[in-house]
Every structure is written in structure tokens, then in C-alpha cells.
């Protein structure tokens, strides 16, 4: 019985490790500046996790293989209540490794979240609702028009409550697709009209909740032109799984040209761009 258990534990361990190192399934290729550091930290961590997992399972298998009862009453186990020295050694080693990982695991976080977006960032207001994304662009003047929840009227397609009386709103555009420039810091100002949603593009390697009653600012720099799927990653109700949009990462001149268009042409141009760029291929 002990040998069978040992072999099964080892086989499970081997198959688990193989599944991870097979490379058949992994992160989609990253397209943000901070992502390589995050992926590196993930690799370091998963190697530590893999070693600890394998060592513990192999050790457990070895114990049950080796220390089976023999059936002889005279043959007894080793009488030991433990070893303070061993306790100190493994406590210190794990504390150092785990806390070191924990401290290392703050660097990407700190670079993304502890300071504001750099000056000159491209800003977009993101307003989520059940089960739709709205992206509010400042237009040519670079100024967002005033918005007010009282002015929201979904049936009139004023999804974000844009105040048409505000001069800054005149050139603003609101679409269901996110378009951002490549290689330039982007700031998203995240809001929600109803419940909590979550902004997530897997290739960007970050998530952020959109919380009603709050405006949460996040920033990042995308470094590869293309079209990417944008998902909601916080349970928001019945059609949560369908709350999908796309993020277009565009060359600077394309974003400038888009930005200069009035609202009606903006929408049409966005549709053309969506058709122009294919999704990444997933093997």
C-alpha cells in the first residue's frame, strides 16, 4: 500500500510539473512595458513553487515508501519528539525565501500604482455598465467635457452623461471600443455606473476594478500595435461573461487622426480600424 501510494504521488507530481513546463498553455504574449518584469517575477516564483512542491511530494512519497509497518510487534518506530534545531532551521529558511519573494513581488506593483501617470499621457475615461464598456475621448482640445449621472440616458445613447452645454464636450467622442497610442503612457480614468466591473486585457498584465462612486486612475504603456480582447473580470450580473470589448493599440499618427474626427466620423473610423487589425493568433 505504501509503495503504491508513493508511486501515485510521484506520478501526480511528475504529470503536474510536465503540464506546467510543456509550454502548450501559457500567458498570451505581453504587450505592455511593465509586463516583462511581471512575467520574470512570475517565473522566479513558479520555479520556487515548483521546487517546493516537488520536494515536499517526493519527500512524502519517500516516507511512505520507506517507513511501512513490518507487522512485527518488536519492530517499533523511532521515538522522537522533534528537534528544536531543525525547527529553527526550516522556519528561518522558509521565512527568508517567502518574505524575499513577497518583497520582490512589490516592484511591478509599486512602479504601476504608487505614482500618477507621467505628464503627456494619453487619457481615456472608461465608464462601465451592465454589460457594456463605454470609452470617453477628450477629442481635439484634449479636455474632457463635463459629465453628470443625472444626464445619463442610455435610450438616447448618452451612456456617460456628457453635458452638451459644456464647450469642452463639443469635440468629445464616446465609443464602445478602446483605442490608445502605442509606446506612449496611457492613463485610464475608471468609473462605473452601476455595479463593480473589472478592466482586463490579458496581454496588458493588469486588472483594475471599476467601482461605482469612485474614479480610479491607472496607467501603463502598451508597446505593440494590434487588437486585443478586453474582458470584465468582476462578477457584474447575468451577462458578465458577455461584457466584452476590444482594445486597439494604434500608431501615434492613427490615434491623432482619429482624435481629430468629429463624433459621427469617429465611430465609423473606429469600425474600420477594428476590421483592419486582426486579433493575435493563439496556438
Amino acid at each position: 500500500m505504501g509503495r503504491v501510494l508513493a508511486v501515485i504521488i510521484w506520478i501526480i507530481t511528475l504529470l503536474s510539473v510536465l503540464l506546467f513546463v510543456s509550454g502548450k498553455w501559457w500567458f498570451p504574449t505581453a504587450i505592455s512595458e511593465h509586463a516583462p518584469a511581471l512575467d520574470r517575477q512570475f517565473m522566479i516564483t513558479i520555479v520556487v513553487v515548483g521546487i517546493a512542491f516537488t520536494a515536499a511530494q517526493v519527500g512524502l512519497g519517500w516516507m511512505v515508501w520507506k517507513y511501512r509497518a513490518t507487522g512485527s510487534a518488536a519492530d517499533r518506530a523511532t521515538y522522537s519528539h522533534g528537534s528544536n534545531r531543525l525547527e529553527v532551521i526550516w522556519t528561518v529558511i522558509t521565512a527568508v525565501v517567502f518574505i524575499a519573494l513577497g518583497v520582490m513581488g512589490q516592484s511591478v506593483w509599486a512602479s504601476l500604482r504608487l505614482h500618477d501617470a507621467p505628464a503627456g499621457s494619453y487619457s481615456v475615461e472608461v465608464v462601465a455598465q451592465q454589460f457594456q464598456w463605454n470609452f470617453h475621448y477628450a477629442g481635439k482640445d484634449g479636455k474632457f467635457g463635463r459629465t453628470d449621472p443625472k444626464l445619463i440616458d442610455d435610450s438616447a445613447l448618452n451612456f456617460v452623461g456628457l453635458d452638451s452645454a459644456d464647450a469642452a464636450a463639443a469635440d468629445d467622442a464616446v465609443t464602445a471600443t478602446l483605442a490608445i497610442p502605442v509606446n506612449r503612457p496611457v492613463e485610464l480614468r475608471l468609473r462605473s455606473k452601476d455595479v463593480i466591473h473589472n478592466f482586463w486585457v490579458p496581454q496588458l498584465r493588469f486588472k483594475q476594478d471599476l467601482v461605482p462612486g469612485m474614479e480610479i486612475k491607472v496607467h501603463f504603456t502598451a508597446n505593440k500595435v494590434g487588437k486585443y480582447e478586453l474582458a470584465c473580470a468582476e462578477l457584474c450580473g447575468q451577462l458578465h461573461f458577455k461584457m466584452k470589448s476590444y482594445m486597439l493599440v494604434l500608431p501615434e499618427e492613427e490615434i491623432q487622426a482619429l482624435q481629430a474626427l468629429p463624433q459621427d466620423q469617429f465611430q465609423a473610423r473606429m469600425a474600420e480600424l477594428l476590421a483592419k487589425y486582426p486579433l493575435p493568433t493563439y496556438q
Binding site: 501515485i8 521515538y79 506593483w109 447575468q238
Partner: protein, 629 residues
């Protein structure tokens, strides 16, 4: 410290009527079995729900399961599950499993039955309170089951609607949509926020509030009993590790459930009394602005994140409430069948304490991306990683206990060994998820699902299987069938790995939790073979549990008869009759002379020395043997 035995304080005569003996019993043993039966019923419901979820994920619409239409005409019209039906399964599966399985059987069940016996007491300190805690918990369970009918059945739903606008039901689900975490404002807004947000959500909140009360009563009882009612010689450091685990669990429950209770009451007030604890101003839901329509009254000034703080301040300790008793049972059973003292008993006690204490300072790791201060995320993250240290210490000590052992491979031992394997497999990925940077990518994907199912769900359940196979002979006077038990172990052990290891990979690719279907996203298409593998493994593993239920029921009546100490174990439950009499020790409380795990003592006549055997039996000077008085 001398330990008084409080005779007379708690003594109550053995009941004679059937109702007082088996239904409204104040006997901790009967109450323990009642809790276990509750968990066995609840886990069937929860497991069936996971089976339905797997069917929907692997054979998504438009695939039709005609049986589903028969069972759920509104939830699965044409045999195709609606997304709201799926999401209500997610919510109810989580709620039933976490509250009514993982919090009842380990603590209310086995703790209730064995804590008083293991410390040499005749009953709990407050037997009537103990009875109440079970019946309150049962009411909570009935209320959560009501949510199924209130939402799933049109006529029941209409009846609930008569209670008020927030109670409208009958949305064709099996309960609310909100996940077991019930994040506000989705959970606070009421019917306007979509299906399941009426009667189902109200009943969900009420059920959890009732459950909190039941757990609080239980926790008070456990703490008082353990501190005051230990028998002569049962110093704290001579207690079995099970007792330390149940005690620490009770302290966690005492400190965390009131917070959830308070949060639940506030949430209910937001829903039915027009308050705004968790609902901010200016919300625009389903085409209506807050305050402009009688269906959507004015809300102003609430904080959605406040709910998350209140919930997770409870929710993280809850993880340890679920698993600490499993750790205790595993330590106890490993030592017994390794025929060897627990390695590092003191370190194990300190590790339990450290886990319990640190467990109160890490709730923010569920909220890194919630919009709370990014600085607090750093503190929560580093504290979270440090909670891995006492967890690792426990694992090392379990391996140390096996080192040099003479292992007897009973079914109970196999499940205890399985616990160690699964605890490592599930716990170790906490090193990934606890890092704020990595959580940016990993949050709310299937790697989270895999992590907490392995460690909090499956490992805890393995601890309970080990406990049940181990203590069943004491509880019922008969063994569970070992051959069937071992078959149950092999299928379950391999099965749960096949279910949950691939889920890690799905999470790395980026598959989000709580999606009714993955068909919308190109980047998830490559995962379909793994999704299918998981579903097939889940179907086999869930079916294998029928073997366990058969073994359980069959063994109660037909199992091989067991003596008083069939496993040659050392602690007090094995010194009394099988099954134990009403007052546990037939009027004579035992006196304790040794620590709990004196196996393989050199020079002793047998390879185990019971806690009640006279002092002279254990040679001195070999290791530390608890405090001697």
C-alpha cells in the same frame, strides 16, 4: 496550574424520550453527529451544483441536456442552461460549501463530538447553548434552501413578492447571483440589478446572518469548555493537537463572525430599508437613475469597498476556520498510524497560533485590485507571504512525524497523507497569489479557483474523511469498510488532482472565474481540451463519492464490530466505551499522566502508552513530554 473538574456544573441526566435523545438533544455527541449529517446533506447539494456547472462549461449552449429541462424548466429551457441559472449555481455552490460543509463538519461536527471527550469532560460547558447552535445553523440551511425555491419556482416566487418589492422572486435561478462573496452594490441594489437579486439575495443574506449567530454560540462553548473543563492532569500542552486546532478555530470564529453578521445586517438594510451603507450616489442601473423612480429609491454616500473589507475581514479567517480542524485531525491521525509521537508538538501548537493570528492581518490580499490604497496592498502582500512560514512549519513537522515511522496504511491514514499532499499542492500557490504584482494578472482567474479549492476545499475535506474513517468505530461501534474506503481514497485522490491542477494552467492563460461560457473569447479557445478534462475528472470524482455514502450507511448497520481502542491509540476517547456513554466516562473522569502521542516509547510493554496509564510507564529524559505536574 491545577485543573478543576467542574462536576455538577454541567451534569445532566441521560434523556429517555426519543425526541430529547436524538432530536433536541443536549448531548455533545448527538449534536456532533447532527452537524455531520447536516454537512453530508449540504455537500450533496453543493456537489450536485458543481456537476451541473461542469456540464454547462464543457457542453455549452446550444448543447441541450433534456434532463435539465425536466428538472429546471425555467432555469434550463429546452435543456440549455441560462447564464443566470449558471451564476446562481456558482453562488449557491460556494455558499453552501463554505458555510454549511466546511464550517459545520470540521468544527461543529467532529469538534463537538471529540473535544469534550479528548479533554476528559462529561459534556460541553453549555449543553443547551450547544443544542441551540446546531438548530440555529439548521435554520440557516433551511433559509438558503428556500432561496432555491423562491427563485426557481414562479408560484413560490410570487408568494415572496408579497413580502415587499425587494422580495420578488421566481427569476428562474436557484438563488442569487453574486458569488459567495456577494459584492455590493450588485448584492445591495435589489431586483433592478437583474435576475436573482430579489428574494434569492435577501434569503442569502438572512441565511448567512443566522449562520453567524449559530457559529458564535458554538465558538463560545468550545472556548469555555476547553479552558475550564479539562480533567485532572490534562494541562494545555498535553492536549491532542486536534483540541488546539478546534480551540484556535473557535477563537477565529468568535472574532470574525460578528463582523460578517454586522455586515450582513447592513447589507439587508440597504436592500429593504433604503439605507446606503454600500451604495454610492448617482447610480444608473437598468436605465434608471437612483432616486428618480419608485423601483430605485435614492441612495447616497455608501462605499462598495466597505462591504469587501467587512466580508474579507471575516472571509480570510474563515479559510483557516475551514482548514485548521483538518490540520489537527491530520496531525493526530498521522501520529497514530505512524506509531510515532508528533514531531515538534510545541512548534505545531505555535504554528496553529501563528496561522490564526496572521490570518487576521491578510484579508486585503483579496482586494489588491479593488481600488483600496496601493500602499496598504504592500503591507497585506508581505504579511500574506509570511503566513506561509507557519504553514510550511506544519508540513515539515508532518514529514518529520513520518520519518522513522512504522506506518499502518488504514483508510484514515491514507486520507491524512492525502491531506498533507493536497495542503502542499494547494497552499504553495499562495506564494504566487499573495504577491500584489502577480495578482494584477492572476486575480479572479481559474488559478484562484484552483488554489482555494485545493487548500480550503479539498484538503479540508480530506481531513474530514480521515477523521470520519478514524473516529467512526468510536462513534458507531463499527468500522467503516476498509476495502471500499481505500477504493474511495484512490478515486478521490487522483480525481481531485485531475480536476484542480489543470485549472492552474487555465488561470495562467487568463480564464476568468464566474463565466457562464467561454465561447466569447478567442484567447480562451486553446483551453477547451483542458476544460473537458476537468469536467470528465469531476464527473468521475463526484460519482466516486456515492461509494463513500454507501460505505457510510452500510457500515452504520453492517460494519465489522469495533472494540474500545481498535487503532491502538493513546488519547482519552479511546479509554472509554465504544460508543461512549451519555456522560462520556461512565461517572469516573479519567486522570491524565502523559502527553497525547506516546508511541514507540522505549521499554514500554506495548508500542503505545495511553494518556491515562500511570506515570511510571514512560521513561523520563527522552524528548519533552508536555508539562508534567
Amino acid at each position: 496550574m491545577s485543573v478543576e473538574s467542574h462536576e455538577g456544573v454541567h451534569r445532566h441526566p441521560a434523556p429517555t424520550s426519543f425526541i430529547r435523545k436524538y432530536i433536541f438533544s443536549v448531548d455533545h455527541k448527538v449534536i456532533g453527529i447532527q452537524y455531520i449529517i447536516l454537512a453530508l446533506v449540504a455537500v450533496l447539494v453543493g456537489m450536485t451544483m458543481s456537476l451541473l456547472m461542469r456540464l454547462n462549461l464543457s457542453w455549452p449552449p446550444p448543447h441541450s441536456w433534456p434532463i435539465l429541462e425536466t428538472l429546471f424548466p425555467t432555469g434550463a429551457p429546452g435543456g440549455v442552461m441560462t447564464p443566470e441559472f449558471y451564476l446562481s449555481l456558482v453562488t449557491m455552490h460556494g455558499t453552501i460549501m463554505v458555510f454549511f460543509v466546511l464550517t459545520t463538519a470540521p468544527q461543529g461536527g467532529f469538534g463537538n463530538y471529540f473535544l469534550p471527550i479528548q479533554i476528559g469532560a462529561e459534556d460541553m460547558a453549555f449543553p443547551t447553548l450547544n443544542m441551540l447552535s446546531f438548530w440555529v445553523t439548521l435554520v440557516g440551511f433551511i433559509v438558503i434552501l428556500l432561496a432555491i425555491f423562491a427563485e426557481g419556482n414562479q408560484s413560490v416566487g410570487q408568494w415572496f413578492a408579497a413580502l415587499g418589492p425587494s422580495f420578488a422572486g421566481g427569476s428562474g435561478t436557484v438563488g442569487p447571483i453574486g458569488g459567495w462573496t456577494g459584492y455590493a452594490p450588485l448584492s445591495a441594489l435589489g431586483k433592478i440589478a437583474g435576475p436573482g437579486q430579489g428574494a434569492g439575495m435577501n434569503l442569502w443574506v438572512i441565511s448567512i446572518a443566522i449562520f453567524c449567530v449559530g457559529s458564535l454560540l458554538g465558538a463560545l462553548n468550545f472556548i469555555t469548555t476547553l479552558l475550564n473543563m479539562r480533567t485532572k492532569g490534562m494541562s494545555l500542552m498535553r492536549m491532542p493537537l486536534t483540541c488546539w486546532a478546534w480551540f484556535t478555530t473557535a477563537v477565529l470564529a468568535l472574532l470574525s463572525f460578528p463582523v460578517l453578521l454586522g455586515g450582513g445586517i447592513l447589507l439587508l438594510l440597504d436592500r429593504i430599508a433604503g439605507t446606503s451603507f454600500f451604495i454610492p450616489s448617482g447610480l444608473y442601473v437598468s436605465g434608471l437613475l437612483s432616486g428618480t423612480n419608485p423601483n430605485f429609491p435614492l441612495h447616497t454616500g455608501g462605499s462598495p469597498i466597505l462591504w469587501q473589507h467587512l466580508f474579507w475581514f471575516f472571509g480570510h479567517p474563515e479559510v483557516y476556520i475551514a482548514i485548521l480542524p483538518g490540520m489537527g485531525a491530520t496531525s493526530h491521525i498521522l501520529s497514530t498510524f505512524a506509531r510515532k509521537p508528533v514531531f515538534g508538538y510545541r512548534a505545531m501548537v505555535f504554528a496553529i497560533f501563528a496561522i490564526g493570528l496572521l490570518g487576521f492581518f491578510v484579508w486585503g490580499h483579496h482586494m489588491f485590485i479593488s481600488g483600496m490604497s496601493p500602499y496598504s496592498a504592500i503591507a497585506f502582500s508581505v504579511l500574506t507571504l509570511s503566513i506561509g512560514v507557519p504553514s510550511a512549519v506544519k508540513t515539515f513537522n508532518w514529514l518529520g512525524t513520518l520519518w522513522g515511522a512504522r506506518i499502518r496504511f488504514t483508510t484514515a491514514m491514507l486520507f491524512a497523507l492525502g491531506f498533507v499532499s493536497l495542503f502542499v499542492a494547494g497552499g504553495i500557490t499562495g506564494l504566487i497569489l499573495g504577491q500584489s504584482s502577480l495578482d494584477l494578472a492572476m486575480h479572479d482567474t481559474y488559478i484562484v479557483t484552483a488554489h482555494f479549492h485545493l487548500v480550503m476545499g479539498v484538503a479540508s475535506i480530506f481531513g474530514m474523511f480521515a477523521a470520519l474513517y478514524f473516529w467512526f468505530p468510536k462513534m458507531f461501534g463499527r468500522f467503516m469498510n476498509e476495502k471500499i474506503g481505500k477504493l474511495h481514497f484512490w478515486l478521490t485522490f487522483i480525481g481531485v488532482y485531475a480536476i484542480f491542477v489543470p485549472m492552474h494552467i487555465m488561470g495562467i492563460v487568463g480564464m476568468p472565474r464566474r463565466y457562464a461560457s467561454f465561447g466569447e473569447y478567442e484567447f480562451l479557445r486553446t483551453l477547451h481540451p483542458l476544460v473537458l478534462l476537468v469536467s470528465v475528472a469531476a464527473i468521475i470524482t463526484i460519482t466516486a463519492q456515492l461509494i463513500f455514502y454507501f460505505n457510510l450507511i452500510w457500515s452504520v448497520f453492517k460494519g465489522e464490530k469495533a472494540g474500545d481502542n481498535p487503532w491502538e491509540a493513546t488519547t482519552l476517547e479511546w479509554t472509554t466505551a465504544t460508543p461512549p456513554p451519555h456522560d462520556n466516562f461512565a461517572g469516573v473522569l479519567p486522570t491524565v499522566y502523559h502527553g497525547p502521542y506516546e508511541f514507540a516509547v522505549p521499554g514500554a510493554p506495548k508500542d503505545y502508552v495511553m494518556q491515562t496509564e500511570a506515570e511510571a510507564d514512560v521513561p523520563s529524559g527522552n524528548g519533552h513530554n508536555g508539562h508534567k505536574h
